[in-house]
């Protein structure tokens, strides 16, 4: 087996393990930590289904962000939904035969990559141009954008500049999934692209990317506004009552 194939195979096993394990740990932590008080930001839905709808609007439209800042909203929306489409498009490397809907979105996936890169560029520009955002940015905030933009640009480069052996690449990933390793195409742009992706996977559970699971557990968004109708009591708070 070529050396690089071994390195990348191990790298992706490690990255996947850290991503899945890390996220599982954080999600478990969030789920197990009680929310002792009712603190939805009101007006809030008064029913569970209302909360599901509120959460859906946050996820699908970034509703709160839309209310607060149109620039961030536009760039953030381009980036996230561009990325979502790009990710969906990438499923063709992991499925055999390729699912029909994945086939159908292939042409859009390409525009999506531009949208993603444009969104990231806009967000990054804000970190330099808006004095308030500059003030709150740490080095890691810049690097995170650099990393994502790097992923998007190396990806686009493979589409437009150098052409990678997609068939061999697919064989490599399917090989990883079925523990039947195949050699990785040794194209430098691809290797860079994949290294960046693995880095992203590794830092996901130990960085601000935790906003993705976090939003589902945010009590100001996921609580039903019914404190008068239903008594809400955390286990640790209930203990105070028996003292």
């Amino acid at each position: 087996m070529p050396f690089l194939t071994v390195v990348y195979a191990l790298l992706f096993y490690l990255a996947t393990a850290l991503l899945v394990g890390g996220l599982a740990y954080k999600i478990r932590q969030y789920a197990k930590t009680p929310a002792p008080l009712k603190i939805p930001t009101t007006p809030a839905p008064v029913t569970r289904s209302g909360v599901v709808l509120r959460m859906f609007r946050e996820l699908a439209f970034f509703e709160s962000l839309f209310k607060s800042n149109k620039w961030i909203w536009v760039f953030g929306y381009l980036f996230h939904f561009g990325m979502l489409l790009v990710l969906a498009r990438h499923l063709r490397y992991f499925t055999n035969p390729v699912w029909t809907w994945v086939d159908l979105i292939q042409p859009f996936g390409l525009y999506a990559a531009f949208a993603m890169a444009a969104g990231l560029a806009g967000l990054w520009a804000r970190r330099f141009l808006v004095d308030r955002v500059r003030y709150i940015s740490a080095l890691s905030d810049h690097l995170m954008l650099a990393l994502l933009l790097g992923i998007a640009l190396t990806g686009l480069a493979m589409d437009y500049l150098t052409h990678t052996d997609i068939v061999a690449l697919k064989a490599f990933f399917l090989g990883l999934m079925y523990f039947n390793w195949q050699p990785i195409p040794e194209d430098p742009v691809l290797l860079l692209h994949l290294a960046l992706v693995a880095t992203l996977m590794i830092i996901f559970p130990i960085s601000k990317l935790l906003h993705a699971p976090g939003i589902f557990f945010s009590p100001t968004r996921n609580q039903v506004d019914n404190p008068r109708e239903q008594r809400h009591l955390a286990a640790w708070a209930a203990k105070l009552e028996n003292r």
Partner: protein, 496 residues
């Protein structure tokens, strides 16, 4: 008037550029030993305070999901940076909600996250030092816990929750805030924030009875500690004598009189406000809340109604059932507790009150949504009732009403500048500057519609505005209670 400059009211609100450190000097007086100890906190900075603080921080991340999720989830998008009235009024970057959170988050990261432990510079993590603690004391007492930032954050990160946790941590290492902690001590000792003892309360209420009888020729009662009354009314103690609060109390009494329902105040639970929330202390908040339960049981009432007060309504509406429930000994046909506005609104809807709107014709009104009513509670059965019900009651009481600009009311309302335990003279500069966005909105309706008065339903808002309105060229009596309008308009005795 003071050793700081009152901000200028601009034609259009502008987002200021950063001026680092301009509010670093602003800090409230520190609580003395006796007041710390009566709340169960150490009297002065403990020796190993760094460790105590970190232990407390860890305990809180395990007890409050919100705290944990908020510390992890911020992406530094900047959407909240221009949403805080204290940033808009002071230009100090540490008053941007995310920057305020970061004061605590950077210590959390340093001690409890992989990135912060091994790459502190990269993620802006720092150790907990005396300078950091000083910054905490300063800037976590420049947050009125109004939750405006939480509305605009894509994940609902609520800086109020971070401020509460920070204050709890500071209390636990021995640096509490004088104003809040002294007041909570008074509630435990005497029953209310103002330290008004039972005989004085009885006297005051008798005085009010005489005053109202002289004024309208009808004897309207102000009962206190009357066992067997139908309704226990719990109201902020400012209602007992400060202007314009007391005019609101007179309004409640007239409404109960007209409704023909017996009611009583309690000298034991003679305070609706619950400063336990401001210092983030579940246990103190619970202890204060239990007084209401005890009073209700002791007096044998069937219902609990809360007077006009913002943070008090948050604790009552959102937390009372949790902290002091279940209230299965009360009449299940009514929500526990009810807001006085829900009560009055219901009577108006049913046509049970005769209102002479022209009695308020000397005023052109606008209405200030109190932050904790708007963003942390509800009135009535529908979301947003907290916006419509007060306005319905105001419209039923007067002929001239105009709302301030859309982006300054309802859920977007600006804090008065004095909430969250900051209503103290040692923070006057902060209070004046923090009122800027509200004053700008007020100025706009004054110029466009000739508004003369602003109505509010919170004791803190009313006190704060009485004090800061003059700094901006308005008169201090242009702030009124909503039930003061009701009191003026209601025709007492019409239904007998």
């Amino acid at each position: 008037m003071a050793d700081f400059e009152t901000p200028e009211l601009k034609e259009y609100p502008v987002i200021p550029h950063l001026q680092e450190g301009v509010m670093a000097h602003s800090k409230p007086f520190v609580a003395k030993e006796e007041f710390q100890e009566s709340l169960g906190f150490p009297g002065e900075l403990v020796d190993n305070w760094e460790q105590v603080a970190l232990d407390k921080m860890q305990e809180l991340t395990g007890k409050y999901r919100g705290f944990q999720v908020f510390l992890d989830s911020c992406v530094k998008c900047g959407a909240c940076t221009d949403k805080c009235h204290y940033y808009l009024g002071t230009s100090d970057p540490k008053n941007m909600p995310v920057a305020r959170q970061d004061l605590l988050r950077k210590v959390y990261r340093r001690n409890f996250t992989f990135a912060g432990k091994y790459f502190p510079k990269l993620v802006g993590a720092v150790d907990l030092t005396k300078e950091v603690l000083d910054d905490w004391y300063s800037y976590f007492h420049q947050c009125s816990q109004c939750r405006r930032c939480s509305v605009y954050c894509p994940y609902g990160i609520d800086t109020a929750e971070i401020s509460m946790a920070a204050r709890e941590i500071m209390d636990c290492v021995g640096v509490g805030q004088k104003y809040c902690n002294e007041i909570i001590g008074k509630v435990y000792k005497i029953g209310n924030n103002l330290g008004l003892p039972q005989p004085a309360l009885v006297d005051t209420l008798e005085g009010l009875e005489e005053e109202v009888e002289e004024d309208i020729g009808v004897k309207v009662r102000f009962p206190v500690d009357e066992k067997g009354a139908e309704i226990l009314v719990v109201t902020p103690s400012a209602d007992f004598f400060a202007e314009p609060h007391v005019d609101g109390l007179i309004g409640y009494a007239k409404v109960f009189h007209e409704a023909g329902i017996s009611w009583t105040l309690s000298s034991y639970a003679s305070e609706a406000a619950n400063f336990g929330m401001f210092i983030g202390s579940y246990e103190n908040m619970r202890k204060v809340s239990l007084r209401i339960r005890e009073a209700a049981l002791d007096l044998g009432v069937k219902r609990i109604v809360m007077g006009e007060c913002g943070h008090a309504w948050r604790v009552a509406y959102s937390f009372l059932n949790t902290l002091a429930g279940p209230f299965d000994f009360l009449d299940p046909n009514y929500p526990v507790p009810q807001h006085i506005l829900e009560f009055t609104h219901d009577l108006i809807q049913r046509g049970a009150l005769t209102m002479d709107k022209s009695a308020n014709d000397d005023m052109v009104l606008t209405y200030h949504d109190s932050c904790n009513v708007a963003r942390a509670s509800r009135m009535g059965s529908k979301p947003g009732g907290q916006f419509t019900i007060p306005r319905d009651v105001i419209r039923a009481s007067c002929n001239h009403f105009y709302d301030m600009p859309q982006d300054t009311i309802h859920e977007a309302t600006y804090c008065c500048g004095g909430g969250g335990g900051l209503l103290t003279d040692d923070l006057m500069e902060l209070r004046v500057k923090g009122a800027l966005p509200r004053m700008e909105a007020l100025k706009q309706v004054v110029e466009e519609h000739g508004v003369t008065h602003m109505a509010a339903i919170c004791a803190i808002c009313k006190s704060q505005f009485s004090k800061v309105l003059p700094y901006y060229g308005f008169t201090m009596d242009s702030i009124v209670s909503v039930h003061q309008l009701v009191s003026n308009a209601i025709v007492v005795g019409s239904k007998q």
